[in-house]
Subunit: 188 residues, 2 copies
C-alpha cells in the first residue's frame, strides 16, 4: 500500500515559499506547477487538515472584517524535514494514461476522419500550451529576475516546451498520414 501521498508533498513544497491558505495554494499552483501538477480543493483542504494533525504544518486564523476568515498554513520544522526527505528520494515513474492515443490505437474501427479530428484538436491544444509557456517565461523573467530558484522553474518550463513541440510535430506528421489514408479510402 502506501501510495505515499504525493499531494501532501506538493503542498509542503508550495508552502516552502511562505505561509498560505488553501485558496492561495490552489491559485499559486495554477501558474507555477500547473502544467504538470494540479490539485483540487477537495484534495487540498482535507490534506491540510491531516498534515496539521500530524504536525507537518501549523494553522493560524486570520480574521478579516467583512470577509471570510483565512486559514493560513505554515511549515513546521518537522514538515520541512519531511519535504527534504521526499525531495531526495528518486521519483517514481508511472505510465500516464493518454486517451487520445488509446482512441487512435483503435482508429481502424472508425472512419479515418474521426482520428484526424482528434489529432487536429490536440494540435491546437499544443499551440495554446506553447503560447502559455511563452507568457509564463516572460512573467518569470520579470517577476523573479533575481530569485535563486528561478533556474529550476525555468527547467520545468523548458520541459513543457520540449514536450509540447514534440507533440505538435507528431500531430503534424500524423495528420499527414491520416490525410493520405482518407484519400485512399475515398478512392476505393
Amino acid at each position: 500500500m502506501a501510495r505515499s501521498n504525493q499531494s501532501q508533498f506538493a503542498l509542503l513544497g508550495l508552502l516552502s515559499f511562505g505561509a498560505m491558505s488553501g485558496y492561495d495554494l490552489r491559485q499559486l499552483s495554477g501558474w507555477s506547477v500547473g502544467h504538470f501538477w494540479r490539485e483540487s480543493y477537495g484534495q487540498i483542504y482535507p490534506t491540510l487538515k491531516k498534515m496539521a494533525a500530524e504536525g507537518l504544518v501549523r494553522r493560524k486564523t486570520e480574521v478579516n472584517p467583512g470577509r471570510p476568515d483565512r486559514h493560513i498554513y505554515e511549515l513546521t520544522a518537522a514538515g520541512r524535514k519531511e519535504l527534504y526527505r521526499w525531495l531526495e528520494r528518486p521519483p517514481t515513474v508511472e505510465v500516464p494514461r493518454n486517451e487520445l492515443l488509446l482512441k487512435l490505437f483503435f482508429g481502424g474501427l472508425v472512419p479515418p476522419g474521426v482520428s484526424a479530428e482528434h489529432v487536429s484538436q490536440r494540435r491546437e491544444q499544443c499551440r495554446q500550451e506553447l503560447a502559455t509557456y511563452r507568457a509564463t517565461r516572460e512573467r518569470l523573467e520579470k517577476e523573479a529576475a533575481k530569485d535563486p530558484q528561478k533556474p529550476f522553474w525555468l527547467m520545468t518550463l523548458n520541459y513543457g516546451e520540449h514536450i509540447a513541440r514534440a507533440e505538435a510535430n507528431w500531430c503534424d506528421e500524423t495528420l499527414k498520414e491520416l490525410g493520405e489514408k482518407k484519400r485512399q479510402t475515398k478512392r476505393n
Copy 2:
C-alpha cells in the same frame, strides 16, 4: 460525476481484436498499449464482471483439464456500439502528474547533486524506452505486416518515440545546466 469509466473502454477496445480472458487482456495490453495505458488485474476482473452484467460483453467458460478454467469474454453488439460511440467522442486532456518535475521545481531547497541524480536517472529510462520502441517496431513489422490496423499502431509508437526523444534532449540540456550550478556552488 460520471468519470466515464475509461478502463471499460480500453477493455472493450482490446476485445475488438477477439475474445479473450482477463489474463490475456493484461498480457496483450503489455506490449500494445503498454506505453500509454495500463490496467491491473484488480481493475480488469471487476470491470469485466460489471460489463457482463450490463450486456456489453458475453462470458464463456473454457474448461481445461489440469488447468484453471479460462473465462473468455467476447464483445456483444451492444458492446461494440458503445465502443464506437466512445471512439468518436473527443478525447479529454488532463494534466499528467510528473513527480520528477515537481521535485525539480523545488530543487533550490536541496544540494544540486540531488536534482542532477534524478534527471540522470530519467535520462537512462528514456534510453530504455527508446530501445523498447525499436524492438516493438520490429515486432510489428514482422508480425503485423499486412494488418490493416498496423498504421494506427505505428502512429502511437511514433508518439512514444517523439516524446522520449524530446525528454532525453531535455534531460541532456538540464544536466548541463545543473552541472554548471554545481561548479558555481563549489566555488562559493
